[in-house]
Each structure stands twice: as C-alpha cells, then as structure tokens.
Symmetry: C2
Subunit: 218 residues, 2 copies
C-alpha cells in the first residue's frame, strides 16, 4: 500500500519559510538557512545533480527521504509564481529545466493549467479539485511506490488535518526566524495520531520521524 | 550585570502546555509529557526535594539552569489559581508549602495581593505594574545573581518582544500536542537578535541555548 510521506524542515520557532517571501527571497528572510543541512548531504546533492557532499546520519536521513518515491505533491506556494491565474507566460517552477523530483508532481492550485513536462522525468500536473483528488492521482502515478508531500505549510496542514499523512520526518534547524509560514497550525488533534519512531541528532539539525498510529485512515 | 535567563520546555509542534488546561490537568492534555525529562534529572529532583535521578548531558543542563539564580519571574498562568481577583482564600501556587524556587518569585498579575511567604526561601510577590517593573524588582532582589524567567507562554512572549531576555534555553521534546499554549507567537524580530551557542542532544529532549547578540538592550 502506497504511503504519503512528509519531509520538511522547520526552524526552532516553527516556521518552514521566513517572513516577507518574494521572488528574491522565495523562502523569506532567513529561510535559506533551513536548507543548508540538506544541501550539504551527498544523497540530496546527487538528486539535485550536484557532486560531493557529506555522508553520515543526516545523509542517511536524506537518502531515505528520496528512496522509493514515485510521485510528489506540493502546494502552489512551493511551486511558486505568485497567486492567481497563470497568465500567458506561466511560471515553470523554481528548479530550472531539470527539476530534482524525477517523478510526476501534483501541484495544488485553484487555477487550471495543462501539464508541464520537464527534463529528467518530472512532469508538473496542476490539480484543482482538492487534496484528496491530488493524492488519488499521485498514488496512481506512483505505481506502487510512495508519494512525497513537500510544502508549503498550508498544503501540509491540510493533509495533516485530513489524517492523510502516513509518515513524517520533521527536520528541526535551531535557527529563529521570528515569523513566516508556520508549519503546525490548524492541524487538528495530531497528538494522539502520531507516534515518534526515531530522533536523530546531527550537527545543526535534529531529525524526528513519526508514524501514523492507524494507517488505515482517520 | 544580572541577566534574565529563560528556561522552558516546548513540544515539537511549539507548545509549552497542551490544550484544555484546568485544575486536573494544569499543563493541558498531554502537557505532562513535556516535563518528564526534567523530573528524571538528579539536579532538578534535588531542587524539588526528591532523591535520585539521572546524571548526564540533560542533568548538566538542568543544573546550569538552576545555578546562580537569585530571583524568579513568572506569569499568572504559571502561578495558577485561574484568572481574575484572588478572592478570600487565595491560591498558593502549584508547589505545596516548600516550592522549588528558594528565591523571591515575582508573579505578573493584574490583581494586587500581599506577598506570600512560603517555606524554603520562596516568597511570592505579586506585581501589577508590568514586565519591566517586575524585572527591576527581581534584579534588585537577586542581589547580583541572575533572574530566572519561567512561563507561561504569554509572559515569555512579552519579555522576548521587549528584548529583555539575555539567555534562553529551549528544551524541545518531540511530542506533538496538537494545540495549547504556543511559545513563539508575537515575539517580534527575534531572528536577528539571538545567536545559537549550543545544542545538546539527549534521549527524548534536545537542549538549544541562545544568547542575545546585544546584551546592552533592544
């Protein structure tokens, strides 16, 4: 049974992006600091077409995050391009011609758009009929493999509140952003629903993994 | 120069107490789990008049937290007894006749009350003229030692927003409470103000310590 697996990095004060995001600072003020740990890991770099990188506990976590994923879901904010209709020369994502997903990617949006095929196996599909429809389509596309849930915060909150996330890895970086997009907001009663299965402490980041107690559904 | 030092334990989803606090569950649903790590440490137990306990990295952190403190500040919610005037048979705190503070304790409240002297060196003073007045009185009372800032969340947020916290230790316990009293809310631009000086990973808790970049004031 395919699982929906969340992997996301959060500041100590609870944000997945800093305040005042924009084209020049897509992750908001200070938000880049959240992802330094990932960009330093060998397996994450390889997935992004980069050489080198560290091995060790954080690399193991990053490798596990990438492994066995057959489709990806993300919110409109993570895909980018601002709110509203797509326009005549629509935004093609933050990641260049060969995005690091290498799978079908289902983007949650209120604005319809034709699929966008990129190099390296990534095709962006724009889903306008909600999170459950996006998950169904992603599960189908994944062909027995798992579905990765990226950000942003609002997309994650909707899947958490609906009880649809099977496995989550929260990477906590001890920076303070003081504002931005908060991850844990309006998530419903997640306390009883998830069980901590592992904490891995590494320099500059702590990785916590949780499993849903009842994988059958909420 | 006396410092204001915050020590507080937070759930991974950012709460210092769970939802629905009341007389029977003063820390809210699930909130007790936040403090299991502290109650297991030798130095914390000794301060609370209990025998035994663990030694190790978390005990070192707990010992440091207690050391050199000459006065304590807390909010009305942490002192307890519910909101509003104190009444004829007023609440005497959660801690019995010999509270673990062993210093003067300044309780932030809107409702005046005579000081309350307890055993073991703890006297509760009720401060109705705001956080800066409470800090001044606490610094005076501490006689050159530091001032500890306890909870609840609202008291901490006020001191953080005013730029008055010199040193903070945030103990993160990877439980998910799903709601309750959020620590980092309305704190202002703390990102630029604090520098991480240490992270200590221990079983079931990670201790992060931050120092204010400009100890001269905000």
């Amino acid at each position: 049974m395919a699982e929906l697996r969340l992997n996301i990095t959060m500041s100590l004060d609870g944000y997945v992006a800093g305040p005042h995001p924009g084209l020049e600072a897509p992750l908001g003020v200070g938000g880049e600091a959240l992802h330094e740990w990932a960009f330093a890991q060998r397996s994450f770099r390889a997935a992004h077409g980069m050489q080198g990188g560290a091995t060790g506990p954080s690399d193991d976590v990053a490798a596990e995050w990438i492994e066995g994923i057959g489709a990806t879901i993300m919110g409109r904010n993570m895909f980018g391009g601002g709110p509203g209709p797509w326009g005549d020369d629509p935004w093609r994502g933050w990641w260049g011609d060969d995005p690091p997903f290498h799978t079908p990617v289902f983007v949650l949006t209120h604005h319809p758009r034709e699929p966008l095929e990129m190099a390296g196996g990534t095709t962006f599909h724009f889903v306008t009929d909600g999170i459950e429809a996006a998950l169904e389509r992603a599960v189908d596309a994944a062909g027995g493999r798992d579905v990765a849930l990226g950000g942003g915060a609002r997309a994650v909150q909707q899947y958490l509140a609906a009880g649809l996330v099977d496995d989550m890895q929260i990477h906590v970086v001890p920076v303070l952003l003081g504002g931005g997009s908060r991850l844990f907001e309006d998530t419903g009663e997640i306390g009883a629903r998830y069980r901590l299965v592992r904490s891995v402490a590494a320099p500059a980041v702590t990785h916590h993994r949780y499993r849903r107690e009842d994988p059958g559904g909420a």
